[in-house]
Amino acid sequence: MTEALSFFLISWLDPKLLFLTAAGTFAGIYIGAIPGLSVTMAVSILVSFTFKWHVNEALTLISGIFFGGVYGGSRSAILLNIPGAPAAIATGLDGYPLAKRGEAGRAIGLTTVVSVLGGFVGILALAVAAPAVANLALKFAPRDYLLLAIWGILLVGSLSGNSLAKGVFAGALGMLIGCVGLDPVTAEPRLTFGSLQLSAGISYIVAMIGFFGVSEVMAQLHEIHLKATKQDVTKIIPSWDLVLKYLPLSMRTSSIGVVIGALPGAGGDIAALMAYDHAKRTVKNPSRPFGEGAYEGLVAPESANNAAVGGAYIPMLTLGIPGDAATAVIIGALYIHGLKPGPMLMIETPHLFWFTVGSLTLANCFLLIFGLTGIKIFAKIVEIPKPILLPLILILSSVGAYAINNNPVDVYWMLGFGVLGYFLKMYGFQVGPVILGIILGPLMDRSYRQAMISAQNNPLTFIGEFFTSPLSAIILAALVFTLVSQTSWWRRLRGHAEPGNA
């Protein structure tokens, strides 16, 4: 216990780590507040810049950015009605009407406090649940990992997009990209078309930067002339009564956030929308009608999306399966530092786990400080003109892609993935599942083959094991449910069961 505490405090006591966490959180709020700059984008670029750093330093910076970014998105949602990050889409529904009523300051203050509360709930859940999940994960057979990974890709594909088929396609495309190169088991070249360069595989970092950085910038070009209206921000620190009044709702929606965040593939954006929906259904007498500036409509999504951060870390650290796109990128960072997220991570490097919990807690404290004090500065940054901002992001992306192997060819790859990602986005595909597929592809490949070999290449034994092992059967049931709930006859069935609710 004291050992855990000493690991927990590493980033609190080391001035350099303390500074990096603060800087990361600060930068995260900034990045999150700028519409079009996502946390995932920032983390993917940063991973390539920090891979020569000590792993502790890289992790503190990334945790800060992640936490700050999820929260920062609420800023522009409230002030400009443009969510700075996908997780803040629900925030604008009631936040912007509040700002229009001249209550922007109070809205931001309340958002900050409930975000921090949600963040703590998430971290607490991580600290309590992760060791238990890791113990359970030791019992996982390769086929369970295979199922979990498929489930994760299906979840992100079905919950965040409007077409399950498109989600599946994007996930499978990612898995295919992850397969290119030498086969990890037999060292046979796969899909390399005889090219020596492709034998080394396609760098997932380059793909991430392309899909999240370049394609996002290209999509932003459509709205380059959009001017934002400014809002006055005064009176920030919310009254104690206000916070107390919404504490129960905040706790309820935080637990929704943790659970959604912990599901493989589903992250803060989905958590926030579900929490908003929950508030709408359960709060009988909101302060104002929802959509017209109800505080409840602000408290629910903002508690949930920050709670989802801690939740998303649970499957990432214990199973090596990312909770959402941002944690998929963080897994990439862990790989680059030679760490293997999974049940063994908790056993072999317990200090890393408690260190992560500690730096997340620290980042959450900084969030409270910066959130309540630095409002004027953050309002400024949103005003950086896009004609300057977008080329700068591209320079950072290019250097990030180049820096991995000091190879100029990677910059072309990045651009190629960027253009592909742009077209995919334009035509209604999600890029999140692609990244999940790239990260999970090799894990799935390995798990599938181990499971098949242990079934002596007998497909009947292989399939039978999914039903005879209780653990596999449960995950399989969840997976099948996810699939079935997307079909039209399921919706019809529900429509009959709950008339008027379809």
């Binding site: 020569k52 996930g171 796969r190 002339h225 080329p391 910059v411 077209f423 290449n457």
Partner: protein, 175 residues
Amino acid sequence: MKEVRQRLAGEVVFVSILLLISAFMLWQSYKISGFSSLSSAGAFPMAATFAMVVSGILIWFQTQRSKAAVAETGESYPALFRRQITPGIVVTFVLAVLGYAIALEPLGFVLASFLYLMIAIWLLGSRNIGKNLLASVASMVGIYVVFKTAFSVVLPQGTLLQAMVKGTPYAGWLP
């Protein structure tokens, strides 16, 4: 929950291309080890590409069924595609990035980035040269300092410039 998406210009063509590529990759995956064994090197790529083909076919039918984008009076299909998907600004911007990627090695990070910033900021509609120059210089100094101090990232130095100053007294001046 699910609204019917309106089909954008070029969507059917794009989805068809994706489907063709998926089919081609399925064939390529089959060639890795055929059906020799269920745990062979090619099994997983085949599964992934098979999923791509099946979902691709579904998407193709979904796209066919969706409502086509409405063309404004007299607008041809390619014109609609250019307006919705590839407006001039996106194309020129991508070309500028391509130029930057080509220039990165010979000119080096500092010079190539500076030129790219100047051109890109101008392309994106900020026509005040003085302001652009200031923004470019300030950003380059900022990026350079951060990269050299905080992140120990190796930046391309510029083969062309190095060749030019080689043997001259300016050789040590390059950043």
